[in-house]
Every structure is written in C-alpha cells, then in structure tokens.
C-alpha cells in the first residue's frame, strides 16, 4: 500500500480506519483505511466484488464492521444505526436504484427532508401556519433540488417511470434533501452515456463547491481522473493503492486488478501450450 501525501490543511471529514468485515468464510473487506479531507471528492475503485459497496454500507450503518472504526468529522459512528448516521450528515445513493414505488418525484425528494422539518402531527391536523409554511418551503426546496440535479421530467411524475439517468438524479436529490455534509454515491453514472456522465460529474463539482465531501464508487475512469482529488483502489477486500487518480491507475497492481497480470496470463498460456503439444490437439 502506498500513497501520495494529502493536503494537511483541511479537516478530515470521513476517517475510516482498519475496517474489516467477513461474511461466513469470506473476508469482504480487509483492513481498509481511508481518510477523506473536507470538501474533496474521493473515488473508490476496483473490479467487481472488491468490497467497495460493503465499505459504503458500513459507513452508512447498514453493516456493523467486525473491527476498525468510522469517524465523521471527529465523531465515532462505528456501528451506529443508519438513521443516526444520516442525522450526523451522511447521505447516500444506491448501486441498484432504490426509489420508493408509487411516489412522485417531488414526494420522493420531500421525504428526504424529514430531519429538516419540525412540524408535528397535531400541527398538521390543526392547519397551523408554521406547518403550512413548512410544507410550502419543503416543496419549493425539493423542486429546486430536482432542478439542480438536472431532472427535466415533470415533478408530479412517478419517480419510477423516469429514464434511468433521471432516476439516479432523483436519488441524488433525495439524498441532498437531508442536507448532508458527506454524500456517498454508489456508481452514480452506471448505465449513463458519456454526455449524461459528464453532467453528473459537473453536478458533483458543484456540490463540492458548496462544501460537501463526496465519496463515490465509480467505474468510469475518465470521470474519476477528471473529478476525483484522490482515490482508493480495492481488490478482493483489500486496499491496493491510494492517492491521486492518475498515479493510482498507473500502478501495476491496479492495472493487474482490472486487466489481470500479464505474467499470470503468460504462465497460464505457457501451461496450456505445454499441455497441448504432447497431446497433439
């Protein structure tokens, strides 16, 4: 494991240290340490099955790690319940889009504003002025978020009927509605074409400008090189490399993780030839 030096001036937003998790006999995440400074975009890369989503699931509280710790802005959130983690300002999206069936775009995003609202059931029943104001504000803010992430569809359309790209964007808007400090994105551009991916990239830059810290799992290397300040590359649960994206992607073991080892491949090929010749295939 090697890495370039990180800028030391800013505070650490997310501090994941020595995280380990096994399922049965499988070590899905093996001693992973990631530090992400405030206001940065950090990418987690690696081939399928490397354990990236498991890391994200541990940060957001879905999975309790076997060992290691997770701190967000200095607060220990290891093993905290997901809604606790969310209350501390960590929001996320999902690899397989998870929108709420039957809800419109605006309702979906408004649901994300739960922690921002203070209205009570009695207030809602009594039609109190503050409740009315809050409903209006939530709607307006949700509408603004929908515009911000670039969803062009009707706000009253069912979220599940939108195009794939728009569904991903609605998910981002819903996460943003929780007013997070840290946003975890699981393959935000999966299934998008280049133009759409670029739009998402620009959106992420905008969010960083607004002060958010972002951690994203991403397979689009072009996007990673263009938008991430730093990356962590994982393979079979462990960290292969950490640092600037261009530097990381040049590392041999990273390339090997993606494309395989030339030496291994060569060895297998030799083996094969050797076997074939005596048999006379």
């Amino acid at each position: 494991m090697s890495g370039t030096s990180e800028p030391a001036a800013t505070a650490t937003a997310v501090d994941i240290s020595h995280l380990t998790k096994s399922f049965g006999g499988l070590t899905a995440v093996d001693d992973v340490t990631v530090r992400v400074p405030e206001g940065q975009i950090h990418g987690i890369l690696g081939p399928n099955g490397a354990g990236k989503t498991t890391v994200l699931n541990m940060v957001s509280g879905f999975i309790v790690p076997d060992s290691g710790s997770i701190q967000v802005f200095g607060e220990d959130l290891t093993g905290a319940k997901p809604f606790h983690v969310a209350q501390r300002g960590v929001a996320r999206t999902y690899q397989n889009i998870r929108l709420f069936a039957g809800m419109t775009v605006l309702e979906t995003v408004s649901a994300g504003a739960y922690a921002q609202r203070s209205s009570t059931i009695l207030g809602a029943l009594a039609l109190s002025p503050s409740e009315r104001r809050e409903r209006r504000e939530v709607r307006e803010r949700a509408a603004a978020l929908v515009e911000q992430v670039g969803v062009r569809a009707d706000h009253d359309a069912l979220a599940e009927t939108l195009s794939y790209g728009d569904q991903r964007r609605v998910e981002i808007a819903r996460a943003l509605a929780t007013d997070p400090q840290v946003l975890l994105l699981d393959e935000p551009t999966a299934g998008m074409n280049d133009a759409e991916s670029d739009q998402v990239g620009q959106l992420l830059l905008g969010l960083r400008e607004a002060g958010l810290t972002l951690i994203l799992i991403e397979h689009n290397m072009r996007l990673v090189e263009e938008f991430c300040e730093s990356v962590t590359v994982m393979n079979s649960g462990a960290v292969l490399a950490q640092g600037a994206p261009t530097w990381c992607l040049e590392q041999d073991d990273v390339k090997e993780a993606y494309f395989g080892k030339r030496s291994d491949a060569a060895r297998v090929a030799t083996l094969r030839r050797a076997r074939r010749s005596p048999g006379g295939a």
């Binding site: 969310a86 739960y114 009315r132 809050e134 409903r135 069912l158 509605a177 929780t178």
Partner: protein
Amino acid sequence: MSTTALLTTLQFAGVNALFALAIYASLWTGVLSLAPVFFGAVSAFTFGYVAGTLGLSPALALVVGLVLGAALGAVTAALIIRLDSHYLAMATIAMVLIGRVLIINLVEYTGGPSGTLVPGELGTWLWLIGSLVVAGYVMSRLSGSRFGLAADAVREDPAVAQTLAISPRRIQFVGFVISGALGGTAGVFQASFLQYIGPDTFYTHLGFVTLAAVVLGGAFHWAGPIVGAIVFTILPELLREPMGEYDRVVTGVALILIIIYMPRGLVDVRRLRLLRTRGRRRTPADEDPSRTGSTPATVEVAP
C-alpha cells in the same frame, strides 16, 4: 334487499371503515397488524361496563374509547414493534385470541360467554358520519405531511428510509398509536350499533373482514379502506340471497384474486399516476390542461 336492511348494512360498513382505517394506519408504516380488533374489544367492553355502572354521556364515551385505544396502541407498540414482520403479525393475532379468552373469563366485567348489553346512543347516523369525516380529515392531512411521507418511505423501503434520518421504529410506533385510537373509536361504535357485545363480537372474523376490506380498497391511500369497507360489507349481503351459505366463499376468493391481480386495491394512486404519465406522453400536458388540473391523485392539500 329492503331499504332498512340496506341502511343497517351501510351503518356496519361505516363502522368497518373505521376498523379498516385503523388497520391501514399501521400498514401505512409497513406493519401488518390485527391489533385494532383487540383495541376495539377493550374499548367496547370498558364503555359497556362504565356506561352500565356509572353512566356516561355519549361524547365522553367516545373520547374514552379513543384515548384508551391510543394508550393500548402505544403500550403494544412499545412491546412488540421490534419483532420481524411475520412474528409481529402473529403477535397481533394472538392478542385477538387472548382477548376472547379474557372476555369469557372476566364475567364480572364483561358478562362472560353471554356478553353484555350496551347503550346505543352513539349508534346514529350523525355520530357515525361525523366520526368518519373526522377520521378522513385526519388521514388526508397526514398524507403528504412530514409523518405521512416518512411513513410512505418506511413502508416502501425501510432501509432507505433510515438513510434519510427516519427511524422506522418511531414512525411505526406513531402508526400504532393512530391505529389504536381509530380501533378504540370503532369498538365503541360497534358496541353502540349492536347494543350487545359478546366474546365473538371482536374476534378473528372481524379482523379478517376488515383486513380484506383494506386489501380490496387499497392499502396505499386512506380512501382505500373506506371504499373497501363499504364494498366488502355490502357485497356479502347482496350475495346472501343467490349464494346462500356460500356467500363468504366469494369473500375469500375475492381476497385471493385481488392480492394476486390488483395488489394495490381499488383506490390505486400509483396506477392513476401511471395512466396519467402515459396519457401525457401521448398528448402533451399543455394541450390538455384540464387533465392535469383534475387529477384525483393529488393528495397534497397545502396551499
């Protein structure tokens, strides 16, 4: 069916609608519970006992039923809300079963197996419609409110709801309290209309008929249970003549068919919205503004 019979049936449809709304209140938060039947039983027998010994004005009796139901809902939720879905459903069915045993054995308070008589002052159209209107108003205000959106989220995907800082347990607790209040109220009405309550008044059959009503009407919008209760109370009455003793077979078959082919019931907001989206794709909205203006799907009442 004669007019009197129809009116009586409609009255029971109204009471069933209250029970159905009570079941809906917890289903809304992703919990299948038959506990409202138990809440209703406790309220009804308390009402019967108190009205019999102390005398009680109708309005006060209603309030007692409501508060008692809500309190029971809170206690129940505190005890069993953390169970997995199957076990939770089982636990609430067990409550209904225990309720009957208690009623039979607490002879001094309930009249035991022979039941007890209850004053019928609340058993009028005015009280019933008034209560239904209030319940409908409460549910319509809650849908689209902070609680309502959170409940939708918890039912559709509790894991995702958690990452929106929503605590599913908390939302489900509130759902149980609302369910208890509605169930308690419904129990008092059931007692007032029947003017007699016994161990079989609040038993599994009531639970299943109301659950069937919710499923038929639709468990995804508050109007669903009301529509379902009306259809499901009147339908067997209409079928009684042609079907004879087999009328309930239709109820059962309907339940199976609905859950397979119309899992979201008659009042299906999602389907309406899908149709609207499809319609809009064919004819753009700006060409046909009346269509978007009059969507029955808009639940939001905020200005």
